[in-house]
């Protein structure tokens, strides 16, 4: 069958796959849709990071520059919190795949709380920068910085809403282990926002 040949070409082994919906490639359409979306998100954040890198040094004489406002120890703690939320996310996925719903709810709630802590840190950071005189329209560095980190913050917030939706579905008994692919797909999105922050933290905050 041509479909089987296509599946073999992408390294997929149909022999290991039983149950589920048949697809022409042998891989889940929902999961593929999320990966295509994440691929397009790479382009969005690629554009935003490019814009920041090109504009960050175009600060007028005596204006506020990145090194004047960045609080590296604080942002390091925030980055660590978001990184650990990726761990709790995969633990939530592992729990629901084992039909351990109690642990799934615990880990998914922990992930949402860690994400909320990160967002709270970002709000604090934005407020501190504003008080130091860096607004969205203060200079071109400020505009590029707030646009990039703000877009990332919106993505994290959407992720938190999705995590809490999964928690509500689980509590209502509408998220069985057979439907754990939904958790895996939300997890892909969550890990993606973590990966984007890995890039932002290094490129924007740490590289001199």
């Amino acid at each position: 069958m041509a479909e089987t040949t296509t599946a073999a070409a992408v390294g997929y082994d149909p022999a290991t796959h039983v149950g589920g919906h048949p697809t022409s490639t042998g891989i889940s359409n929902n999961k593929m849709a999320m990966w295509v979306f994440l691929g397009s998100e790479c382009m969005l954040f690629g554009g935003l990071i490019s814009t920041y890198l090109l504009y960050k040094d175009r600060v007028p004489e005596g204006g506020i520059s990145p090194r004047d406002v960045f609080d590296i120890p604080f942002t390091s703690a925030s980055s660590f919190v978001l990184l650990m939320s990726s761990l709790t996310m995969v633990l939530a996925l592992a729990a629901i795949q084992k039909a351990d719903h109690r642990r799934f709810r615990l880990w998914i709630l922990t992930t949402a709380l860690l994400g909320s802590t990160f967002i709270a840190g970002q709000i604090y950071e934005f407020t501190a920068f504003y008080r130091e005189g860096l607004g969205f329209t203060t200079n071109i560095f400020g505009s590029a910085f707030y646009t990039l980190t703000g877009f990332h913050g919106v993505h994290v917030t959407i992720g938190i809403i999705m995590l809490l939706s999964l928690l509500v579905l689980s509590i209502r008994g509408r998220l069985s282990e057979e439907r754990s692919e939904a958790v895996e797909i939300v997890g892909l999105y969550w890990h993606f926002v973590d990966i984007v922050w890995i890039l932002i933290f290094t490129i924007i905050y740490l590289i001199p």
Binding site: E3, V10, Y12, S28, W35, G46, L87, L91, I198, L206
Partner: protein, 112 residues
């Protein structure tokens, strides 16, 4: 040898069940998290040592960033264990994003 899926032939198609993949266990996830934490600590440690490291600080940070990126994508996002098609879709996005940066950089260089 038809490539069109019909109701009669659908039973012969490969079917999707991602749970059948051998994803890593909880112990592996914990080990990866420890590695990521250590790598983050190393990244942050370059900040006070910036003067001592000199021009080496940028390549060091970029290498640490790429390693962290790879660990999250390969293990937490299961790219190491899932279909290679997912990896290609993701890589296509990353390459296009990088091309976007180079295109904008070139535009600023020549016309900025």
């Amino acid at each position: 040898m038809s490539s069109v899926a019909t109701p009669d032939s659908s039973a012969e198609l490969p079917v999707a069940d991602e749970h059948a993949h051998e994803h890593p266990g909880e112990k592996t996830y914990l080990k990866i998290a420890v590695i990521l934490a250590v790598l983050t600590a190393l990244e942050v440690a370059t900040y006070p040592a910036e003067d001592a490291l000199g021009s080496a600080v940028i390549p060091i940070l970029l290498v640490l960033m790429v390693i962290k990126f790879w660990y999250v994508a390969a293990f937490f996002m299961h790219l190491k264990f899932d279909s290679r098609m997912f990896s290609w879709v993701f890589i296509a996005g990353i390459v296009t994003g990088a091309a976007c940066y180079l295109a904008v950089l070139a535009t600023f260089e020549f016309f900025g």
